[in-house]
Amino acid sequence: MSALALELRATWGRAYGRLVGAFREPTWLITDAILPNLGMVAFVMLYRALGAPRSFEALAVVGGLLATYWINVLWGMGAQFYWEKQSGQLQLYFVAPCSRMAILSGMALGGFLLTTVRSAFGLFLGFVVVGARVEPFSLPALLGVFALTMVALYALGMVMASLFLLWGREAYHLSNALYQPVQFLSGLYFPLRTLGPLGIVAAGLVPLGLGVDALRQVLLGAGAHALLPLRAEVALLAALGAAFLWLARVALAHLESLAKREGRLTQRWQ
């Protein structure tokens, strides 16, 4: 069996668990799909009440959809290894011959597919129920930018998985504290450009804002009130994705080495 076959099987094996789960716990639909989208609907209503340009409504819908993925990245990726440790399962990943990157990739793939199923609800709510409108757009460009955004976002989630594990509950609380600021700094419900230089700095750190801004440009053209030219945002997203994947690999290697040297991390009581 080739190393690639092992990695692919491990990735699919881990992703499968998440996909199966999507159809067994309907309550998750409320927390992961309906609740995040309520904020999006509120902004659409607000823009409509204020008589803002129609593009602002679609702008909020795109932000709301991406928020669903962000929640999944934060809790379904970032916190996952920490929870695996608490349940005593992490050492089973460390003792398996597949790479930890394959496990994380499986989590990411499963989480992404699961969230996509749920974000369909947001699409329906935003573009059918609430009636937001977009300009004619290029589907390949939309899918390309979306794919880049997802790679960058979930790669960030892979990095966070190691950091959560290293810092334990501290990271958990930090992430909790940062949840709203990250949403704000990513301009999920307003044009990122409004934040000025702060928006540029935030976009350079968290791919969420860049992804939202780039997707809005594809869907709304000039109505997106974009921060940077689309090409620049695409290039930055690609760079962030590559950097986070590399960082995730380095962080996992460091984590494993630390676990072996210090004898902790893989045991829930240590």
Binding site: M1, A5, L6, R9, A10, W12, G13, R14, Y16, G17, V20, G21, R24, E25, S87, G88, Q89, Q91, L92, Y93, F94, V95, A96, P97, C98, I103, A259, K260, R261, E262, G263, T266
Partner: protein, 347 residues
Amino acid sequence: MTPDDPGATPAVDARGLMRTFRATRGGGAVRALDGVDVRIAPGEIFGLLGPNGAGKTTLIKILTTLLYPTAGTARVAGFDVIHDANEVRKRIGLVSGGESSGYGILTVRECLWMFSQFYGVPGRIAGPRVAGLIRTAGLSEQADTRINRLSTGQRQRMNFARGFVSDPEVVFLDEPTLGMDVNAARALREYIVRWVRERPGRTVLLTTHYMREAEELCDRIAIIDHGRVLACDSFAGLRRLVEGGQHVELEVRAADGGTPALPSLEGVRTAWGAPHPERGTRALKFRLPPDRALAGVLRELETRAVRIEAIATRETSLEDVFVALVGRGLEESDEREDDGPAPPGAP
């Protein structure tokens, strides 16, 4: 193939293994392993017996590539656990009793299949193998039940089955029957024996608190304490270490109702067994050297106002060997332990 066969590649070959940990309180270091040498031949069921904190789990962690040794070397299935960790991982399985594995939302079948994928088992092999393991673990009726709806015992059985999904060359079983009911534990012990006998060259390293489990299963047993292997032999070989004289177990009651003081029964190595709170007595276990008469010991006890409630003499058990080597019984080694010395389902 025997442990002494110089031509065979050992399933496990540990030499001079040392491991120290930083103490969590008060600084300093704790030495968990102190020069452990273990050589296990392919096809053996090898037992590791020792009280809590003896170093058993640390040794297993090193052998399963979860921990670096501070010094020494270890090879599993011919591969170095530090430099060829991934080759080792392809060939081993690990089961820790009492651990929970899998995700509550998955069924037993799905969970075992998922773990088989982490070892790259092709689908056409994984399906039948998982089905077979489910039968072995006595979980046929629960095969399609979510894990979060299983009882604790059922989860443990599933966890045991998980350790075999990759059909490993060497399986590390760390207290695998801990807390299991009688029938389940017996079935799993039978499976371990069958698994090794039907697959030449497959090896099991088992740690257990249950003396009789070790006696029943293991070709050889290493007794470990304070990070050192005190003895390593077959059960018959270990018995020879302490043969001679009688093994005596007394049930005694002190006149004042407390634990009788026994500072010196000359030539007799004693060990206190578990108290019987409801009877107000305590077991006293010892081996009487050939040159001492039991009557003399009993007289000595009487002079100390200790009343003898019951006397039993018997053949050397593994527990006797353990007491003789370690200086205390397993049940005395850690007050937190709830498990008695008899395994669930022991004959």
